[in-house]
């Protein structure tokens, strides 16, 4: 226990922010930034993918479906190596490890988020779309103004869960030397050499505290969304989480 305190005291700052300010930002701060940016950039892409997945046009449906299935079937570490190798070739210019990991996360998360948004769309009663169309809105207008806002609101807890997954996935940046939290912990290990157990306990704990808090937040949100969906009827039982959501969210 005392060892853990010493390590935290000596290396806590390295784990939290990396070399900043005498160098680039790293550690937990970088982990968090990667996750936030990754999900933020993935979101618009995921909406497009979800719309393609529910579209009746094969030219939209099949590529989107293919992309989603590839991302669901490929290990993230394999995708990271692919992007690491291909992105600079594609762009014709150097790409940092940070950007590589970010691009990978955007593609990977977009596929998973698309499934969540799609579940949200499909869980709405068809009556919503039909009613919107019958008042004269086109398909896209109905989607944008009626269906998507509700779908996305309903799926906010699932999206927050996906954010937690993204945070965990940033740890893979270690293999392409992105200076995030896991890489920083191994830097500490290389200096201390003979104290791997306390270092890894600290590493696991930091992730746990961050992810657990966010998961609890997601659960609170889910209760609130369920209350909203059930209508403001006193004593009404909140509908149980749809099996689709549970199946998709990790």
């Amino acid at each position: 226990m005392g060892e853990i305190a010493t390590i935290l005291h000596d290396y806590g700052l390295l784990l939290l922010v990396g070399q900043y300010p005498s160098g680039a930002l790293g550690g937990l701060a970088l982990t968090f930034i990667l996750a936030v940016l990754g999900l933020a950039l993935a979101f618009p892409l995921s909406v497009l993918l979800a719309l393609a997945r529910v579209s009746p046009y094969p030219i939209l449906y099949w590529p989107a479906t293919a992309l989603v299935y590839v991302m669901r079937g490929l290990p993230l570490i394999m995708l990271i190596f692919w992007v690491y190798f291909f992105l600079p070739v594609l762009l014709g210019r150097p790409v940092s490890g940070f950007s590589t990991l970010l691009a990978t996360l955007v593609i990977y998360e977009a596929a998973y988020l698309a499934e969540i948004v799609r579940a949200g769309i499909e869980s709405l009663p068809r009556g919503q779309m039909e009613a919107a169309r019958s008042v004269g809105l086109t398909y896209m207008q109905a989607m944008r103004k009626v269906v998507l806002p509700q779908a996305i609101y309903n799926m906010t807890p699932a999206m927050l869960s996906q954010f937690v997954s993204t945070i965990k996935e940033t740890s893979l940046g270690y293999v392409i030397s992105v200076n995030e939290l896991t890489f920083a912990a191994n830097q500490v290990n290389s200096t201390l050499l003979t104290k791997p157990f306390p270092v890894f306990v600290i590493l696991a704990s930091i992730y746990f505290v961050l992810c657990f808090s966010l998961t609890q937040l997601a659960r609170q949100l889910e209760k609130r969304v369920a209350r909203r969906r059930a209508g403001i009827v006193r004593g009404a039982a909140a509908p149980a989480a749809l099996p689709q959501i549970a199946a998709i969210a990790e």
Binding site: Y69, V70, R72, G73, L74, P75, L76, I77, M78, F81, W82, F85, V164, I167, K168, E169, S171, L172, Y174, V175, T182, P196, F197, F200, V201, L203, A204, Y207, F208, C211, F212, T215, A240, A241, P243, Q244, A246, A247, I248, E250
Partner: protein
């Protein structure tokens, strides 16, 4: 760009490494899955009971495994917890593929948390009146679970279980970081020796995608077979 030269995969050590890699990947998946399903079922069962202490313990177990990254869990087991074992056991493990054993444990335990949650969702979806009716007929708690609850819960939870089986399979790729010579490790080794990145990556991608899709298709088939006509 140079034309692709797949012959590199047939030279030197490459074929042997690939065969070993695929074998280890499948073995790791199989053992970890067994561990996850058995433990997951036990945990779901415990959670059904009335002990608050057991409920809390299982809850903590699930929360820990769902909120710590898989890579970190693998490191913690292989480089951390391993050192706490008695040295005799450690030496035995080192001689007998310790990294494989720890990778299996880490991945299996992590998945067990998700499997137990999936089964729990399935169990909760069964009306309690069913259990009461079955108990009234004279079956005890365990028999009720075996004959009535579990089959239905399993069927309801099947999509979740299949999803997490695919995730478990993908997680085996992380075992390369502790030296398990599975598919991903073999891919990187061949890449670093031959510098023919695209060829070996394409092969690895095909293998991973093929098996993932197989698992998902198998799951769909099982779902359809088990589907009972409901009103």
């Amino acid at each position: 760009m140079q034309p692709l030269d797949f012959s590199i995969l047939l030279r030197d050590d490459a074929p042997q490494m690939l065969v070993n890699g695929i074998t280890l990947m499948l073995e790791l998946t199989g053992f970890a899955w067994l561990l996850a399903m058995v433990l997951g079922t036990l945990l779901a069962l415990v959670r059904m009971g009335r002990s608050k202490l057991a409920e809390g313990a299982v809850g903590a177990w699930v929360e820990y495994h769902q909120n710590v990254p898989m890579l970190v869990q693998i490191f913690l087991w292989y480089f951390g917890i391993a050192t706490l074992l008695p040295s005799g056991l450690q030496m035995w493990m080192n001689r007998h593929g310790g990294e494989f054993i720890f990778a299996t444990i880490a991945i299996g335990l992590a998945s067990s948390a998700y499997m137990s949650e999936g089964l729990r969702g399935g169990i909760r979806a069964i009306p309690p009146s069913q259990i009461e009716a079955v108990r009234a007929l004279g079956l005890n708690y365990l028999q009720a679970f075996r004959h009535v609850v579990f089959p239905q819960a399993f069927r309801i939870a099947l999509p979740t279980l299949i999803n997490h089986t695919v995730l478990l399979f993908k997680n085996t790729s992380l075992a390369m970081t502790i030296g398990v010579a599975e598919m991903m490790y073999a891919t990187r080794e061949i890449e670093s020796r031959s510098f023919k990145t695209i060829e070996i990556y394409l092969l690895a991608t095909a293998v991973y995608l093929g098996i993932s899709l197989l698992i998902m298709a198998g799951g769909s088939l099982a779902e359809r077979r088990l589907r009972v006509a409901t009103r």
